[in-house]
Amino acid sequence: MNQRRVTIDPITRLEGHGKIDIFLDEQGEVERAYFQVPELRGFEVFSLGRPAEDMPQITSRICGVCPTAHHMASAKALDDLYQVEPPPAAKKLRELVYNTFMLEDHALHVYILGGPDFIVGPDAPPALRNVVGVIQKVGLDVGKKVISMRWRLRELITYLGGKVIHPVMGLPGGVAKAMDPAELPKFKQLAEDGLEFARFTLNVFKDIVLKNPAYVKLITSDTFTHKTYYMGLVDANNRVNFYDGQLRVVRPDGTEYAKFPARKYLDYVAEHVEPWSTIKFCFLKPVGWKGFVEGSESGVYAVAPLARLNAADGMATPEAQKACEEFFKTLGGRPVHHTLATHWARVVEILQAAERIRELVNDPEITSKEIRTIPTAVPKVGIGVVEAPRGTLFHHYETDERGLITKANLIVATQNNSARIAMSVDKAAKGLIHRGEVREGLLNMIEMAFRAYDPCHGCGTHALPGEMPLVVALRDSATGRVLREIRR
């Protein structure tokens, strides 16, 4: 077969080097598009023999983007390892830090990372599809507000966590530091301002995105739609929870498929390997791997904001619940299968994070000094899970009786999502590229398909080159010869 291959190699920065290969047939139609990211290897080997107590510090150093998510998942895995329940105040302090992290990270995505696609617009010239373009659109004052809010949220994380990067708060059975009542008024004010900021962000999103029929059409277009299973953490009332609860999975028709504690994740999550990729594609084990296909017969599932909203019966806080109802009403009811609606779901979650922060700082127990239960059990297996901003994150450790690691496994959000991301890129490529015509705008639309997931590729931390060159090579797959190359 005379296939031609288009390679989109968009990310040269250390923090992520993803690649899209598009194979064209003789007519220039897309036969299959592949999205792959190099997997970071060696975590298990690196962890072997280390004391389990070191894992919250080590794992938070793996990633410069999600240190708090790794830290919390790891601290929860240690609770489980030592079979110890943190006192209520310790749980609340962890949840406070976690929601603060979620609010900050989501806001960053809305305004800085995903913003160029939605606030500036997918058809805007590349020179404007960046943070400068976002500020031009929303105004200088909004830009200043975002930066100032980010700074204050990080101040709270630093106060309780020790450091934003390399947090040191989580210990098996609790946290390292209590909330000083003298500090509380400052954080209560931050909570009020944070909620105001969240409401404001929802309005920005509504004004700029939802009032633009072209965007709404794009969000709901078939090109960016997949009917899959969804997974997310829920509380006892089946409401979205970022820090704790049970994992709930819903079918493509929105009905509950399973609900299970983190300990049972291996009964539900399995990994498939394809010859063309080093990445492991997670799927629902009882449903089985049927390939990169949609529907209830296929074990492909998604995590992250859209999946969390789909997997729960609603949000845990009143204003977020209202926003959630509007989300589903506008997009045609539960579940919503439009990948690009992830951006809106993220804004709904910003509201919940802000409301939850306010609840927690106003909870009388938050200043309690009872913040640690000392573990006494002999360790064996510990499994922890949180909802990272980008989706469900599993930490699984096994140790000898001294608590030294004998086995360690991580499943990060992007791994959970990898099959659906691959399907999204394939579908976007098929929907947008015809007769070999590969235009700049089309490539951006294909990239949008994976940017919505905010995929995590690697774990470096680089400022440079700070650009995302897009190299498209049209190749003859038989010879590998480059027929044409487009750079931007």
């Binding site: 080097h17 080997v45 983007v65 800085i112 960046n130 390399h166 690697g458 774990c459 995302m468």
Partner: protein, 175 residues
Amino acid sequence: MSRPLVLALGNDLLGDDGVGLAAARLLREDLPPHVDVEETPTGGLDLLDWMEGRERVLLLDAVVSGRHPPGTVLELTRGDFKTGSLPSPHYAGLPDVLALAERLGIPFPRDLRVLAMEVEPPRELGTGLSPVVRAALPGFVDRARRLIRAWDPAGAGGPRAAPPAPRGTRSPGET
């Protein structure tokens, strides 16, 4: 006047990604007293927190451009960064951060330089530098030292010292 800052970026759990941090640790051994050296595993908007209010900053970093052999040391100034870069799926790069600071009127270093070493993309978790990068490290540190000496207002850093740039940046040849 704010103290000059040497800011090393990198993750020392990712092999050669930590070359900037390794350089910072060596630089600390004989640092002029008026210079700060810090290390951070993050990039993106966190750079705002580090650089706001500083007048002179030297970033030490690893870079994967694929255009140079591993171990090559690249020196860049503000003028070398393209504006209007495309968004990363993950976080803002230095050019974005500079553009943002400028737009929002955040006081940012007028004299901002970057020394970056070309490395192979790390694929495995682990500490320690590869032989090529380890061999290039002393040269990297020397380049950084020369730039730091040039910051010394009294020019006490040695014969190569030059007065601080009045504004903007200078080309590598002028250092």
